[in-house]
């Protein structure tokens, strides 16, 4: 039906999108066919994934640009319950996120998975990678609760198998179990949220209400709307990794293969953002102001706690995973502000908040993807993620180092890269909050702005640490010696993302022009007219006299300064610079152990914010000769743990065990007794259930 020949001649966005999903799904068929030829499998499957991702990105971008709103009904699935698909601008935007990340990650995987294939069979990795992409694609295309949940669970389960890909490791098993458990709890609450909305759409006797269209038209009582919102926020918040629902994220993301970590951190948790926007702005539509305030508060807490915990990590990928918590927080701040403004009927400001959130969604996908791919390259080359064992990689892996640095600058929100633009837009939204007609919010919002500022500063500190410890200085162990640069496909994948980060940083007005249709759809106003009133060069979100920024000019300025400096240093001098050992103050016995370590770098912050962490620090001298002041060795151990584990999860798991132990009382161990339980149940039902 949808693959009619005339569509091939003049395709529509949704045709491209469904074709992309079909390509991803078709790629899974290659796995059994080429099971014995891993090299060919990797080449063909990831080429197909690249092609599908490109189609998805083009289809999505087109849908946003054309403000399209196409829907199709696929008569598959359960009889009488067909699958509804729709590609509106919001879905199109998230399809671009999936497609862009899928594109670069698939290119990267061509080289990266080859490295894994030398150690172990990769059929499962390829299979679930493709299913994962297809699941995410269908999540945004779904226009009914049924397909949405099928796709959502498909995405969850395939990512679970990717997390436990190296299943012989205990850490992976534990992380996988925790992830699966929490994801299922989340899926249940999402299901309940849809159930509430569907019940108001057509009542409990019909299945017609499962289509999103019916939910949009439904007239939901405010109390129940709040229930649906809170259930959805909990379910999506679990997936997004909002503090305090984040505990699975720093366990699961690092242990997956790095190309998968990039997709999970860059794209999958964005699906939860998509879900929150879809449910609040689209399906429920009527938003009380405190929903926005709640999202804003959760966003702030996530951002701050995420970055603080990230600073305590010395596993490179775990650090990045905690930064995902932080950035989800920043995205939610934008969206929460948008919801609040929308509730007070300030459409332009709501549009600004929403755009800030969406822009940061795209940005975070790109730079977090880049960073995870970079971390994957480091792991690929050194076989470790432990930052304390790395160092000095900039000499051995210059490409990876440079591209990783681009990611670090972007995530630290420094111009001219993209992270700056979206965080700057978020600040603009914050600064406009005095126009809110609520005194309470007027007092709270500046605190939020200050919190965001603190977050950005801490994030920058964290990436100084991440980059500095990993790439600068001297190798801290033999892992970091004798390494070589990664292959060309891995570098292309990372370079493409780095370039995208730069382009989004220097052409923000163009991007906002493109994005503007989404707030127009949901809050009835856009910011494109004012944002690009001075052409593509200047970004002026509300009015030029209030605030303006030109990424291009900043970029040219920075480029000019670097060029001049380079010229001043190297331009006129003809002899090569002399290389010598670093100045050691005359000590002459410098060893790599005298460098800053990841732990020591973050020590001031650990001390300052100590109350927020559960710190177990132990330092004891060993082999003391003559006097305690001359120990031969000192053993030092430091464990910084998540407080939320003890505050929230421990009591829940203890309660579960307690209840389980109560039920063991009816476990007598005799089959006959168990049968009597069933027998009596049947008798009671027969007698009293008539």
């Amino acid at each position: 039906m949808i693959f009619a020949p005339e569509l091939l001649a003049s395709p529509t966005p949704i045709f491209l999108a469904t074709l992309a999903v079909s390509l991803w799904l078709a790629g899974t068929l290659l796995v059994p066919v080429l099971a014995r030829r891993p090299v060919w499998l990797i080449r063909s499957a990831f080429s197909l994934a690249t092609l599908g991702s490109a189609l998805a990105a083009v289809g999505g971008a087109w849908a946003v640009a054309a403000a399209g709103n196409e829907a199709i009904v696929l008569p598959i699935g359960i009889p009488e319950l067909p699958f509804h698909l729709r590609l509106d601008p919001l879905a199109g935007f998230f399809l671009v996120v999936i497609g862009a990340m899928g594109f670069f990650t698939s290119i990267y995987s061509l080289g990266y998975v080859r490295g894994i294939a030398e150690r172990r069979p990769v059929g499962g990795l390829v299979l679930f990678f493709l299913l994962f992409l297809a699941g995410m694609g269908l999540v945004v295309l779904a226009d009914d609760a049924f397909l949405f949940l099928v796709a959502w669970e498909g995405m969850t389960v395939s990512s679970y198998f990717l997390v436990v890909f190296e299943h012989e490791q205990t850490a992976n098993q534990k992380a996988g179990f925790l992830y699966l458990l929490m994801a299922h709890v989340g899926a249940i609450t999402i299901l309940l949220a849809f159930g509430v909305m569907a019940a108001f759409a057509t009542g409990l006797t019909s299945f017609e209400g499962y289509a999103f269209d019916a939910m949009r038209r439904a007239d939901i009582a405010p109390g129940w709307a709040t229930a649906a919102f809170l259930l959805a926020l909990f379910g999506f918040g679990l997936k997004a990794g909002i503090v305090p629902l984040h505990v699975w994220l720093p366990e699961a993301h690092p242990v997956a293969p790095s190309n998968v970590s990039a997709l999970m951190s860059g794209v999958m948790i964005k699906m939860a953002i998509y879900g929150i926007i879809r449910v609040t702005f689209d399906l429920l539509a009527a938003i009380p102001w405190w929903w926005g305030a709640l999202v804003l508060a959760l966003g702030l807490v996530s951002a701050l706690m995420g970055v603080l915990y990230a600073l305590m990590q010395h596993d490179l990928k775990r650090l990045l995973a905690y930064h995902s918590v932080e950035n989800i927080g920043i995205i939610l701040i934008g969206i929460g502000l948008g919801m609040t403004f929308h509730a007070f009927d300030l459409p332009e400001l709501a549009a600004l908040g929403l755009i800030a959130g969406l822009y940061h969604t795209l940005n975070h996908a790109l730079f977090k993807g880049l960073l995870f791919l970079g971390a994957g390259a480091v792991q690929h080359a050194t076989h470790t993620r432990e930052m304390e064992a790395l160092g000095g990689l900039i000499h051995r892996m210059p490409w990876t180092a440079a591209l990783f640095l681009v990611g670090c600058i972007s995530i630290s929100a420094l111009p001219p890269f993209n992270g700056f633009v979206s965080e700057w837009l978020t600040y603009q939204a914050f600064l406009l909050s005095p126009s809110l007609p609520s005194t309470l919010l007027n007092i709270l919002v500046p605190i939020g702005a200050a919190g965001l500022a603190l977050t950005s500063a801490l994030a920058a500190a964290c990436f100084v640490k991440a980059f500095g410890i990993t790439f600068l200085g001297q190798p801290r162990s033999r892992h970091a010696q004798n390494v070589s640069e990664v292959g060309i496909t891995m570098r292309i994948g990372m370079a493409g993302l780095a370039l995208a980060c730069l382009l989004l940083g220097i052409l923000p007005a163009t991007l906002i022009d493109w994005l503007d249709v989404i707030p127009r759809q949901f809050v009835g106003a856009g910011i494109a007219e004012s944002a690009s009133s001075h052409g593509w060069l200047w970004l002026t979100p509300i009015a030029p006299e209030r605030a303006s920024y030109s990424g291009t000019i900043v970029f040219l300025g920075i480029g000019a300064i670097i060029g001049l400096t380079w010229f001043a240093l190297h331009g006129r001098r003809h002899r090569a610079p002399r290389r010598g050992p670093a100045w050691d103050c005359g000590f002459e016995k410098m060893t790599p152990r005298m460098q800053y370590t990841a732990t020591s770098f973050s020590m001031p912050i650990r001390v300052f914010f100590g109350a927020l962490f559960k710190i177990r620090e132990r330092s004891s001298p060993m082999h003391v000769h003559r006097h305690a002041a001359f120990p031969e060795r000192v053993s030092y151990s430091l464990h910084v743990d998540d407080r939320f584990w003890g505050w929230i999860y421990k009591p829940v798991s203890d309660a579960a065990f307690w209840i389980a132990r109560l039920t063991t009382r009816i476990q007598g161990g005799r089959i006959q007794v168990y049968l009597i339980y069933s027998f009596l149940t049947i008798l009671v039902l027969l007698i009293f259930g008539r």
């Binding site: 005799r670 006959q672 049968l675 069933s678 027998f679």
Partner: protein, 223 residues
């Protein structure tokens, strides 16, 4: 043959099925249990075939044939082979209080009739009077599973329960759809094979097929 006569035959056969249900409840010897079970299956198959003839439902012939093959021939044969291989033909179960068990069984039959009476009033099928017997057969099978300690007897109780369910389907709606019936038949066959494996496992683990020994499996909580 007149419908009234056919209904009478159906009633007679149902009564025999029920009687065999009681027989299963009271019989102690393993081989005799097996034979009783096969007889129950035979009467069930005959009953189904007569219902098929009387009601003109073509696919019930097939069900009857299936019952004949599965429950009269194949499963008793499998169990027979198992019993021989495991050399348990001499086992005689010690049962507590057979008369009491039978009394409970009678109470269950009365209850079944009581429960089913509203349905029987509304039903127009020729099998309506047998519905209560079908339910009673299910309940007797369950009761048998409760009172027995020997694994083989348990399995036969389970299969007798399945007989009752099949019977209920025939009496209530002239049988389930063919697909469902085929699926159930396959399940039963597979179950019989799996039971065989379990018998061997239980025997090697506990050196006996007495299920009361399995109480040792209980998790020791250690409060």
């Amino acid at each position: 043959m007149s419908p009234v006569f056919l209904a009478q035959v159906v009633d007679l056969l149902s009564a025999l099925v029920l009687l065999l249900g009681f027989g299963l409840l009271a019989q102690r010897r393993i081989y005799a249990l097996l034979h009783l079970f096969a007889w129950q299956g035979l009467f069930l198959a005959a009953n189904t075939a007569i219902v098929a003839y009387g009601a003109g439902v073509r696919h019930l012939y097939f069900s009857a044939l299936l019952t004949l093959v599965m429950k009269v021939a194949l499963i008793p044969y499998i169990l027979h082979v198992l019993i021989q291989r495991m050399k348990i033909e001499r086992d005689v179960e010690t049962m507590v209080n057979v008369p009491l068990t039978l009394l409970i069984g009678i109470a269950l039959v009365v209850l079944s009739y009581n429960v089913m009476s509203p349905i029987q009033e509304f039903s127009t099928l020729m099998t309506r009077s047998t519905l209560a017997i079908a339910l009673a057969t299910v309940m007797l099978g369950l009761l048998m599973m409760i009172t027995r300690r020997h694994a083989v007897a348990q399995v036969i109780g389970f299969l007798a329960m399945e007989n009752g369910l099949f019977f209920a389907a025939t009496s209530a709606t002239y049988g389930m759809p063919m697909v469902v019936e085929l699926g159930v038949a396959l399940d039963i066959l597979i179950a019989a094979l799996i039971f065989g494996v379990f018998f061997f496992q239980i025997r090697t683990t506990f050196e006996s097929l007495d299920l009361s020994k399995m109480a040792r499996l209980k998790e020791d909580v250690g409060e």
